[in-house]
């Protein structure tokens, strides 16, 4: 089930009614059954895989907590990691690795034929596997207590707002919240609706308006002028941002209505002045996961330049691979790893130059935002292109600057509409940088973490009403109601 389908529009009120009409453990059952229906709408057969992963990590969590012998504990956590990565490896990467091996073998003069297996990628597997894996690692590290209630643990894994495309909400954040009974709360519901409205505007109005303009350019770069391709790359940068942050906002908003605080997953990433800042603003739940469970265990930035470089590159390469079974994703991750390494080397030189030339702070900041954004766009070309050849074709065609006139850009009216939508988004985000506006958007709820979001503060019921109403009007005039899938579903 997708958030932008009519099925979900029917599902949500029914689920909400059952959720708020129940309480205690009955409510957990409602959450579990509702979430399983949500997932089964795509393919019920993969429910077994989802439940297997949940029950296995539930059992391993308890065994890990009970075990005192370090050797046994290590074996248990290794089993959890191996099974989770094994599931991911088989469903997502099996054909990729075998085909890569076949290519290498052929290149070495040992031709091998291989017919790719028809393996269906279970929706959300990349997200729920990371969620359960981090739980067992936390229990192993004794930073998290094992959950002894199977119903609560399974509900935590399958809770529908974050099940299929994140954010990756960790057990340490979610399980304590699941122990509280969440009654209907007016303020929280309005907060949630505000986030959901902004999410739909990002997805249905902006991302889906950009999608066809991006698709035609990447499908046949040769048919487009340099300017047209450059526009396509900029549009993809905003398409993927609005698509995924839109999904995240809807998921976070839904959770908010049901009483849960997921934190934030995107925080105005294209305003970053460095790549390290970018990765604290983009897909925050994944980047913090990679930091805590990969980069830091590898040694982080301890141990000198060479080791830090190795750790950064490994983390980003694997982060790239997480996004999909294609070497173009690995290249995208590698490029970001390289950016981070170069930033560590060049940043002191740049700061010295800024001081020596007395460049005003604002000018320096804008220059860095410009550079970081454009290098990020370069990375998106590899992320979006299906092959290296296609990515290279886009880069060289843009670089040739053969035709930079707007007259040669097809579908001008749709391009202008897209530019206006992006300008609106940039304006809203810029407004949040005003000093007075840098306060949390969502009202604090007793006992919950205060969350901030990339929107101007909307505090009163009237302001929320105006925001949601304006979002509805924007959707009516600019929305694309074809039920386009979310990009991150394929990951």
């Amino acid at each position: 089930m997708l958030f932008n389908t009519w099925t979900f529009v029917i599902f949500l009120p029914l689920f909400s009614l059952a959720y708020f009409a129940s309480g205690g453990r009955v409510r957990l059952w409602v959450m579990l059954i509702g979430s399983l229906i949500f997932y089964a709408w795509w393919d019920w057969r993969f429910l077994f895989l989802l439940l297997f992963s949940s029950i296995l990590d539930y059992a391993l969590g308890i065994l890990l907590e009970n075990a005192q012998d370090p050797g046994i504990r290590k074996r248990l956590v290794t089993l959890s990691v191996a099974v989770n990565l094994g599931l991911l490896g088989f469903f997502k990467y099996f054909n990729f690795f075998v085909q890569s091996a076949v290519h290498v073998s052929s290149a070495l003069g040992l031709p091998v034929t291989y017919d790719a297996w028809r393996i269906v990628l279970p929706v959300g597997i990349s997200f729920y596997v990371f969620k359960t894996m981090s739980y067992t690692i936390d229990v192993y590290r004794r930073t998290e207590k094992a959950e002894r209630d199977l119903l609560r643990f399974t509900t935590f894994v399958v809770f529908f707002p974050e099940l299929v495309a994140g954010p990756i909400v960790r057990a340490s954040r979610m399980l304590p919240q699941m122990k509280r009974d969440h009654r209907f709360n007016y303020t929280r519901t309005l907060d949630g609706l505000t986030l959901i409205a902004s999410g739909y505007v990002r997805k249905v109005a902006i991302a889906d308006s950009l999608a066809p303009l991006v698709d035609i350019r990447f499908a046949n770069p040769a048919a487009h002028s340099s300017l047209s391709l450059l526009i396509g790359v900029y549009f993809y940068a905003f398409q993927i941002y609005c698509d995924f942050s839109g999904y995240s906002n809807i998921a976070i908003g839904l959770a908010r209505i049901f009483g849960f605080d997921f934190g934030i997953n995107f925080d105005r990433p294209y305003w970053s002045e460095s790549f390290s800042e970018f990765w604290t603003r983009w897909h925050i739940s994944l980047s913090s996961w990679l930091r805590d469970y990969l980069y830091i265990p590898l040694g982080g930035n301890r141990g000198g330049t060479l080791r830090t470089t190795r750790n950064l590159m490994l983390t980003m390469l694997l982060g790239g691979l997480w996004h999909g079974a294609n070497w173009t994703f690995v290249a995208w991750g590698g490029l970001h790893g390289l950016y981070l390494v170069l930033q560590r080397l060049l940043s002191p030189l740049y700061q010295r130059a800024v001081r020596a030339l007395r460049i005003p702070k604002i000018v320096s900041a804008l220059l860095l935002i410009f550079v970081v954004f454009h290098l990020t766009c370069l990375g998106w070309i590899f992320f979006r292109a299906e092959t290296f050849a296609r990515a290279w074709e886009v880069i060289t065609d843009i670089g040739s600057m053969t035709d930079m006139s707007f007259a040669a850009v097809p579908q001008k009216f749709l391009v202008i509409k897209a530019v206006l939508l992006i300008a609106g988004l940039v304006f809203v985000e810029a407004a949040t940088f005003l000093p007075k506006q840098r306060r949390p958007v969502l009202a604090p709820i007793p006992g919950e973490t205060v969350t901030v979001s990339a929107h101007p503060p909307i505090r009163t019921a009237a302001a929320r009403l105006a925001f949601v109403a304006a979002s509805v009007w924007v959707l009516l005039v600019f929305g694309t109601f074809s039920g386009n899938t979310f990009i991150y579903f394929q990951f």
């Binding site: 007016y186 040669a408 009216f413 009403l465 109403a469 009007w473 009516l476 005039v477």
Partner: protein, 309 residues
């Protein structure tokens, strides 16, 4: 309970604000539709009264350049052609045009629009209020969306047609032409392109037959035209001849004297094309000279002067 009541009141207020804003904003946006000089808007008002009217899709737009025709024929000319427009939609536009303007002396129909599917139909919602005919086609093709648009009026403005209406608010759109030139690679590619067919849809053929009846009943001279294709691409068409025969067979039910002016292969120079389907601005000029040479407009002028002194 108190929390639920507050939320219920907020929801009611939201619905009222959304609907009020929807009505207010749509009334403002509708002014653009009513005042624009974009062809879909302009034909809903009197004052055009052209001597020559052209119906067709994007090939109609690029084959027959309005300013050039006005120059060589010395007649006020108006194009109802639009990208991807099926003949059935063109018929509705023509009917709307005739509701507000006197009949033209010459009506040109670029008949390859007979193969166009109804892919332009979602856009027609913008003119559903101004034109009951376009509204009926929209409701027929998209019944659920049409009902939604009755609740939320702003949905009508969610279209490229509206953006064009906005762009052409103060200037005419009758000077459209394509400035691009097809690349040598695309010309080569056309030689090995997959074979393709010209298959008219039944709905478009019915519409063409009605257009012929209308022309006869209003004493309008009618020309059926096939504009130029890139010859390399035309060579890949498997049924160009049978297509012309099928069109003529259909219109002969109403007027046996009608024939298709077939210029599909009339322009041979690839540099005169924007792509395989469309002439560029230089190609249009060249094609207009060919039509002038063949007496396409002159003959009309003689006949028209006989019939309408």
């Amino acid at each position: 309970m108190r929390e639920l009541r507050k939320a219920g009141l907020w929801a009611v207020a939201l619905v009222l604000v959304v609907l009020a804003g929807d009505r207010l904003a749509s009334a403002v946006l509708d002014q653009v539709v009513q005042r624009s000089r974009f062809r879909f808007s302009e034909i809903q008002r009197p004052g055009i009264d052209a001597d020559i009217v052209i119906v067709g899709d994007s090939r109609g737009v690029t084959s027959i350049n309005v300013p050039v025709v006005e120059k060589i024929a010395g007649r006020r000319t108006y194009s109802l052609c639009y990208n991807g427009m099926a003949t059935k939609i063109g018929e509705a536009l023509l009917d709307d045009y005739l509701d507000h303007n006197r009949p033209p002396r010459l009506l040109i129909v670029e008949v390859t629009s007979l193969i166009e599917p109804m892919k332009l139909s979602p856009e027609l919602k913008t003119y559903a209020k101004e034109s009951p005919r376009l509204g009926a086609i929209y409701a027929e093709e998209h019944p659920i969306a049409a009902r939604a648009a009755r609740v939320f009026h702003l949905l009508r403005f969610n279209s490229e047609l509206y953006l064009r209406a906005l762009y052409y608010l103060r200037r005419s759109d009758q000077d459209w032409s394509n400035w691009a030139t097809i690349s040598p690679a695309d010309v080569e590619g056309a030689r090995s392109a997959p074979t393709w067919r010209l298959d008219p849809t039944p709905g478009n053929l019915d519409a063409l037959e009605r257009i012929v009846r209308l022309a006869r009943s209003r004493n309008i001279e009618l020309r059926l035209l096939v504009g130029p294709y890139l010859p390399q691409y035309l060579a890949r068409a498997v049924n160009a001849g049978p297509f012309i025969a099928a069109v003529e067979q259909r219109v002969h039910r109403v007027d046996p004297s009608l024939h298709v002016w077939n210029y599909a292969g009339a322009v041979g120079e690839p540099a005169l094309f924007a792509d395989v389907l469309h002439l560029n601005d230089r190609g249009t000029d060249a094609f207009m000279r060919i039509l002038q040479r063949d007496g396409f407009f002159a003959e009309m002028a003689q006949r028209a002067s006989l019939r309408r002194p």
